[in-house]
Structure formats: C-alpha cells, structure tokens
Amino acid sequence: MKKTQTDLLQGTLDLLVLKTLQSGPTHGWDIAQRIQQVSQDVLRVGQGSLYPALHRLEAQGWIASEWGASENNRKAKYYKLTAAGRKQLEAETETWRLFTGAVELILKTS
C-alpha cells in the first residue's frame, strides 16, 4: 500500500533541514533524499521550497555553505550547521516537541 505523503507544515522544513545537517555537511539533493528516506517516504521535500529555504537559512546565519566534491566527484555546494544553527535547532526541536505534545493531548481527550 502506498503510504500517505504529507505536505510539510510551514516552518517545519527549516527544522528538518537543520536536523539533517546535524549529522554532517551535505548538499541540497542529499538533504532532500535523506528527509524522504528517514521519514520513510512520508515527508517529501519539494525542490521548489528546499533551495529558497537553504538560502534563507544561510542568510539567517544558521547554516554556512562551501563548495566541495560530491560522492561521484562532481562540484557540489555543501551546507553545514553553524554554532548559531545548532542553537536554533535545539530551540526549534523543543518548540516542536511542546507543540506536538500539546496537540496530542487535545486529540486524546476527545
């Protein structure tokens, strides 16, 4: 059976990108792939929103970029988490947990 695909909630994409980068620097395509894989194809990142998000996060100073070689030795832009980004990730994770916990509570009561 095909699993349900969920559109990403506004704002959660930033969190997912930061989380993905926590395990090490990587490039845009890989980020999209990993999110899809880790979420077992539930979350699918549209490229249309991934790149603007990456540039936005960079402008905020949460991630930094540099050029490097990809797995098959091609030039690719690698993103990595900055110190500020790490803090931001913690803060956003906590907010997310609080939020989902609260939603869960409400769903349980009814």
Partner: protein
C-alpha cells in the same frame, strides 16, 4: 552576525558570481535526480523530464532563492544609484549646475550651523556644565534682577543652601603690571579658592588655588592664563615661584592654566590673563549689601532650577530678617549659566540661521525646477518603464535616488565650501558674541550636513518624482514630448516654484536693504565732534593714598605739554570720560528755583571733566557765554559749562548762563557752581543722542584717570610709539590703559552692522542669482515646450513684439506674484531685525521700494533672453517638426 554581513555584502557586490553558483547548484541537483531516475530504469529522456517536473520551474526556484538572500531592496537601491549616476552623467551640465546650487545652499547652512552649534548648543566646557547656574541678588524696588553680591552674603548662601553641590564666586578686575619693561594694565578675576576645581579645570603647570590661599594673611598668589604666560614670559618653564608686581604688590606665580581653558562668562572671552584668590578678610566678610561679586553654583543632581530658586528666596528672606540694614527687601535669583552666556546672541544667530535656511530653500526650489524640466523630457522613458511593470513606488524611488545622489555630492562640496566660509565668517563675528573661539567644524556639523543633504534631496526631489511617476501611459507613449495635460501640470508646478523663489529672495533683499540703509545712516551720523586724525590714550594714575589731587594735574600738564611739542601734533586736550567711547559719568545736581527741574529733588545729569582747550580741539561750538579760561583755576569760583540739551531742558526760555547749580547734590561733596557757557550737543555714543550734560574744568575738579586726545598731522596710529615713549619718559612705571584712534572707536560701532550686512548682502546676492536662474530656466524651458504653439502664433501673423510680450508677461506674472508674497513675508519677518537697525524703521518704505524695483528689474532681465529666443522661432520649422 559578521557572517551575515559578509554574505549580504557578497550578495551585493559579487552578484554575477552568486548567480553562477546558484545555477551550478541547481544543475547539480537536476543531474543527481536524472541519474537516480535512470537507476530506477527510466530512459534518459524520461529521466530528464521527470527530474525537471519534480523540480517544478527552475527559474521560479532560482528567483525565490535570490529573494531569500534578503538584499532585494539594497540590490535595487544599488541598481538605482548606478542608473541614476549614469543618467546624471549623461547631462553633465545639468548635474553640475544642480550640484553647485545645492553645495552653495548646504555649505552656507552648515557654516552657520557650526556657529550656532558651537555658541548655543554645545555645553560649556566645564565639569557637569548643564547643572551650572549663576545666583544673583534681586532688588525689586528698582527692578534690578541681577544684583551682584558681597562676599559676606555669598558665604551665608553657601552655608545655608542645600540645592547646590558647590558654589564659587568671582569678579572681574584689572591690575597694573609695573615691574616689567613695558608697564601695562591687564584684566583678570578675583575668585574663591575653589573656582577652578568647581569648573573642573586644572593647571598646565604648577597648581590652581588651595583653601589656604584665601586666608587673610596668606602670601599673595596669582595664576596666569596660558596666553599671558606665552606672551609675557615667553613660555618660560621656570615661571612658577617667580614674582610679578600687580598694582605695586608682588604676587607669587603659582600656576599656569591649560591652553584650552576658556572663561566663557563674565568679561570679554579671551581677555582675562590672571586669576587671584579673593581674600577672606574679616572686613570683607562683614560688609553686606551689594558687592562686586558674581556667584556660580552647581545644582545637585536631580535638583531643578525652580527648586533652587524657591530655596534661595527663603534664604534671602532669612538674611533680610537677620540683617535688615543691608538685606531688607532683597531677594535672590537663579539662572542657568548656559542661558546667561548665550542668551544675548540667541536671537541674532537664529535669525541668521533662518536667513541662510531661506537661501537653501531657494537653492532646492531651483534644483526641483531643473528636475521638473527633466521629467518632461523623461516622461517617455518613465512610461516605458511603468509599461513593463515598474510600480509607481519603484519609479518614485528611482527618481528620489537621483536627487539624493545630487544632494550627497552637493553636500560633500558644500562641506568644503563650509570650511572656506567659516574661515571668512568667524573673524567677522562681533566680539560680544560669546564662545567664538570655540567654533570648529566637527563631526556634529558633518552629521548635520548629511541630514540637510537628505532633507534637501527630499525637498527638491519629492515633488518632481511624484509628478513624473503619475504619468498617463497611453498619452505619454503616444507622444512623449507633448502630453498636454502633463506638461501643463508641470508648468504650474514650476511656476509656483518660481513664485516661491522670488518671494524668499524678496525677504532677504529687504533685509539686506534695511541693513545697508542703517549702516549708511550710522556712517553719516554727525557726532558733534571733529574726530578726524584723532588719537586717544587712556591713563589711570595710581592715586596713592594721601596724594593731593592737585598733584595729578602736574602729571597731566607735563604730559599735555610734551605731547603738544611732538612733531606732527596739532593740538592736545584731556577729557574724562571719552565721548563716543564711554557714557558720561552721572552726577546728582540741584537746580535753582525757577528751573524746569524741581530744585528739591536732585536730578541725574551727565558730566565730563575737560582741559580748557577740549572744546576748541574737538570743534564743540559755543552757543552762549564763554569757554573756560586761565582765570578759572583752583582758587577761583567754581564754574561749569553746560550743553544745549541741559540748557534747553532745564532752563526753557531762560538764559542759562549766570545760573548756579548745586553739584553732587545730597552728598558731602555738595558744591555750588555757576554756568558760564552753553556749548553744542555732542553724542554720548555714536548711536545715542546727547544727554543733558555739564562740563567741569579739570583745574577745578581734578581727575586721576583721563583720556588724552591729540590731533595729528597724519595717521594717528603712527604716533602710538611716540606716545608710549612720552609716557615712560615721564614715569617709567606708568602704564597706558588704552591707546587707540577715534576711527577705531568709530569702527567698533559698525562691527555689528557690517557683520549683519556682509552676511545678508552675500546671502541676498546669492538668492538673487538663484532666483534669476530659476526664472530664466523655467521660461527657457517653457519656450522650448511651446515652440509649436508660438510657431502657430507667428504663422497667424504675430510680430516679434507680440511674442516677446507674451513670454515676458508670463515670466513677469510669476515674478509679480512672488514679489507680492515676498513683500508680505518681509513685513512680517523684518521685525526680527529691529534691534539691528539704527534710525531705520523695519517697514522703511524706501527700502521696500528699492528692493521691489531691483527684483523686478532682475526678473525682467532674466525673462528677456528666453523671450528673445522665442522671437527667433521660425514658424515653418516649428510647424514641420510636428
């Protein structure tokens, strides 16, 4: 943070690099996607298509990514700046004129601002200057708000008051310095020992005063100004501990002040050379009532002036009860020091700043007018831009960026001009304006320039920008050059700018006219004295105790005799005080019965002490009776000569000669004297008419301090050296207080009016030039816009004269409107100048008339050239270019 900034700067300045990177990033993504798809078993074609579809609009993604860089706005500004610069450089003539115009306006405003800022706005250069106040006594009976105090009252205040952190006291003094090669009289201050620590000032060498310095039996000490140390002691490093003889008493030099110490209050700035402690003798501490001292105080933090006033009033009340003999009915007043120092020149400087502001407005109007003219030419360009999607705000921004660019460049040049203008302006500022030695062009002035530049860019750019952006697309694209309604609107705008310019110019012109008029009258004033080639020298004799006053005359006589024998000296006389330089001394006089004044009540009249040849030397005409003669001597009946004002005022319709007055009425020196002559009036000051005055003979009423005046064959200033030698040959220790010429004294009266006039004169000349350029530019532009219309007129048989009249009339209607508005504004504004004017009414009809005439004439000239050009329009060509 730094990272972010770097990123933005990179985004701003390395745009193409960034674009490449974005391209590459997207390309990499697509290639990976395609590989993946092939791996899943698609053909290359299918894989590429699928990848592109899933990416969803490559350009859109790129565009969104770009936006996320957060520099869109900056990028556009940068784009506007470059475009603006290109547009301006395309018409360098226009840009140059606009920049020069703005530079003149901004430069002038900044120069005046520097003066206002240094004099009025900046805190005084003392510790916690904003909390410093002056404290005076108040005598409501004679409406005296600032009575100076005695040391005794000061120390009562200091002990009783709780509003002040600290109090200090001071008084201006002058001392004769006698143990040096050229004796002189110098100015200084007597101060409480805490004076310098109170102000937060330190000594550059040695020390300032200590509490023991003011003890009654302490050694006499003195602190020198840096300047006096440099000029008098040649900056000798070993000056501390040396002695200097002041009024014949040796004082030990204990310190030299720092070069940057400024005494901005009490006395002419820069004059004070010495400071000495005010000794706390038991006599000084017991003498109450009015004194010579000025009290300074620093309010405690958080205490308002009003609270201090209330407290001081209560203290004054207590003193009045404790010492009714001296303090009954005496109050106290507290005034902020900054206001005391700057209050007198506030209105003057602000009026001048306003006048300069008017010039800036005129300059902005000129540039706005130029921009409007350009906007007509650019309406097609603007229309194209808005047709391909530029919003109105975007276009307005573009145009404002252009005017901002002009204003910034203008401001930069203006700042250069400011330095130059300040160098010319500062020496002209009258001496009684305080703190002129503190005027500098600093970062505050630069910030001000920037602000003014931005403001002027809005002033001159906003109207044209809004006007241009409101372009009617279809009309403009159809026929850019002659969109009828737009160009009419444009013309109305430009016309009203001309009216404004002319009106503002009118105000300045009237101001300059009134000042010229006033200065001419001042120069033409007949003081009633012949002041040509006259030298004046003031000498104060020590007047040692026990010395017979008659002995003074021995000195005066030998001085006058020797001066008389100097080659080139044509006449010598002695007088005290010197008319035109000082007001006369006042004396209570009792009049005989039958005089207009009540003889029981003493009447105050002026009096001068003169040598017998004074009247002849100064050309003071005899009206009745006789001058003093050699028969009027110490042994004979006291006689006096009165001036016409006194004779007319107190003996109307009677013969004044022969009447007796009682001099010094009501004092122990009361003495009757007979009037033997009536002489013509001479002025007290150049700008003040004669007072009822009387003349005493110096033989009968000797004076210890007099002016010697000498008429010389050539320039009196060239006799200064001879005079100095003469005095020191009589007495080596006798200093000269003041050596000058009558011309010099006369020019002191014209310093202020000349300062105002030179400022107003140059401002109104500038305004006139700008206004003429405005009229000329506007009309020229209209003529070129109306070429077609004029061509039709000509084709229908209009003659040169008709065309000329048509164009000139259009210009003159604007000028007339401007003149009318300007006359109204001038009538309202010249009232601000009342204090500057001498014998000229602020609504002087002649001045208003001349200013109107001049402005109309200039406007006519400015109209003529464009009108002339209009007559040259060839109807055939004009019609063909349709």
């Amino acid at each position: 943070m730094l990272n972010k900034l770097k990123l933005r700067l990179r985004a701003l300045f390395f745009k193409s690099k960034l674009e490449e990177e974005l391209d590459e990033e997207v390309r990499f993504h697509l290639e990976r996607e395609i590989e993946e798809n092939i791996a899943r078993g698609m053909t290359l074609e299918e894989a590429r298509y699928a990848a592109l579809r899933s990416f969803g609009g490559v350009e859109r993604v790129k565009e969104q990514s770009r936006d996320e860089r957060g520099i869109r706005f900056l990028e556009e500004v940068w784009q506007d700046l470059r475009f603006g610069a290109r547009m301006l450089l395309k018409q360098p003539g226009f840009a140059l004129i606009a920049v020069i115009t703005l530079a003149l306006g901004i430069g002038a405003v900044t120069a005046l601002f520097s003066v206002v800022d240094s004099v009025l706005l900046r805190p005084l250069p003392y510790l916690d200057a904003e909390r410093l106040v002056k404290v005076f006594e108040v005598d409501p009976k004679i409406r005296m708000n600032r009575r100076r105090i005695s040391l005794a009252d000061f120390y009562e205040w200091k002990n009783q008051s709780g509003s002040f952190e600290e109090m200090a006291v001071m008084v201006n003094i002058s001392r004769r310095v006698t143990d040096v090669s050229a004796p002189e009289v110098i100015e200084g201050n007597k101060v409480s020992a805490n004076f310098f620590s109170f102000l937060g000032s330190h000594a550059a060498m040695g020390r300032v005063f200590l509490p023991e310095d003011e003890k009654p039996d302490a050694e006499l000490v003195v602190v020198l100004s840096h300047q006096y140390w440099a000029t008098r002691f040649g900056s000798a490093p070993n000056v501390i501990g040396q002695k200097i003889k002041l009024d014949d008493k040796p004082h030990v030099i204990v310190g030299v002040l720092r070069e940057d110490f400024r005494q901005a209050f009490e006395g002419i700035p820069g004059r004070a050379q010495i400071w000495m402690p005010a000794a706390l003798t038991s006599e000084a501490l017991s003498r109450r009532g009015p004194g010579p001292y000025v009290a300074l105080a620093r309010l405690k933090t958080g205490v308002q002036v009003e609270q201090a006033r209330t407290e001081m009033a209560a203290i004054a009340e207590r003193l009045a009860q404790a010492y009714p003999a001296s303090n009954k009915g005496i109050g106290a007043a507290v005034y902020p020091l900054h206001e005391e120092v700057t209050g007198g020149s506030r209105q003057t400087l602000l009026t001048l700043l306003a006048a300069v502001g008017l010039v800036l407005l005129i300059a902005c109007a000129n540039v706005a007018s130029l921009l409007l003219a350009r906007s007509v030419e650019r309406s097609r360009e603007i229309a194209v831009r808005s047709a391909i999607g530029a919003g109105r705000w975007r276009i307005v921004r573009q145009l404002l960026t252009e005017s901002g660019l002009l204003a910034l460049v203008g401001g930069a040049f203006g700042l250069l001009l400011t330095m130059w203008m300040l160098a010319g302006l500062v020496p002209l500022i009258p001496r009684d304006v305080p703190r002129t030695n503190e005027i500098t062009l600093d970062y505050r002035a630069m910030l001000f320039t920037l602000a003014v530049a931005m403001l002027s860019s809005l002033l001159c750019g906003l109207a044209p920008a809004l006007q241009t952006a409101k372009v009617n697309l279809s009309e403009a694209l159809k026929d850019a050059a002659r969109s009828a309604s737009a160009s009419r609107r444009n013309r109305v705008w430009r016309g009203s700018l001309v009216v404004w310019q002319v009106a503002l110019t009118m105000v300045l012109l009237v101001g300059a006219g009134l000042l010229t008029n006033s200065l001419i009258r001042l120069y033409r004033t007949d003081p009633g004295l012949d002041t040509r080639n006259l030298l004046a020298m003031s000498i104060g004799l020590p007047g040692a105790k026990g010395e017979v006053p008659q002995k003074w005359n021995v000195f005066w006589k030998s001085l006058a005799d020797r001066a008389h024998n100097l080659p080139g000296a044509q006449g010598v006389a002695l007088v005290a005080p010197l008319p035109l330089n000082d007001s006369p001394y006042m004396m209570n006089v009792g009049f005989p019965t039958g005089a207009a004044a009540n003889s029981d009540q003493p009447t105050l009249v002026g009096h001068y002490t003169v040598s017998h040849d004074y009247f002849r030397l100064l050309g003071v005409g005899l009206r009745q009776g006789r001058y003093f003669t050699d028969d009027d001597n110490a042994g004979s009946q006291p006689v006096i000569i009165v001036n016409e004002s006194l004779a007319r005022g107190y003996f109307p319709g009677q013969e004044a000669v022969g009447k007796a007055l009682i001099l010094d009425r009501g004092t122990k020196d009361e003495k009757a004297a007979t009037i033997v002559g009536v002489v013509a009036d001479s002025r007290v000051r150049l700008d003040r008419k004669a007072l009822p005055s009387l003349y005493l003979s110096m033989v009968q009423f000797p004076a210890s301090s007099m002016y010697m005046v000498a008429r010389t064959a050539t320039d009196p200033a060239s006799y200064f050296g001879a005079m100095r030698n003469l005095v020191s040959s009589l007495d080596r220790n006798q200093p000269i207080s003041y050596l000058t010429t009558m011309d010099e004294i006369w020019s002191n009266y014209t310093v202020r009016p000349r300062f105002y006039l030179s400022l107003f004169g140059s401002l109104s000349a500038l305004a006139l030039l700008l206004a003429a350029a405005g009229i000329y530019g506007t009309l020229s532009h209209t003529v070129s816009q109306r070429t077609h219309e004029i061509g039709v007129h000509r084709a229908l048989g209009a003659q040169d004269g008709d065309v000329l009249r048509m164009v000139v009339r259009q210009g003159m209607i604007l000028a007339a409107l401007g003149v009318t508005a300007g006359l109204g504004a001038a009538l309202a504004l010249t009232r601000l100048m009342r204090e500057w004017l001498y014998e000229v009414s602020v609504a002087d009809p002649a001045t208003f008339g001349i200013a109107t005439g001049l402005l109309i004439l200039i406007a006519l000239c400015a109209c003529y050239a464009p009108a002339r050009r209009a007559t040259k329009i060839d109807p055939m060509i004009a019609l063909r270019c349709e």
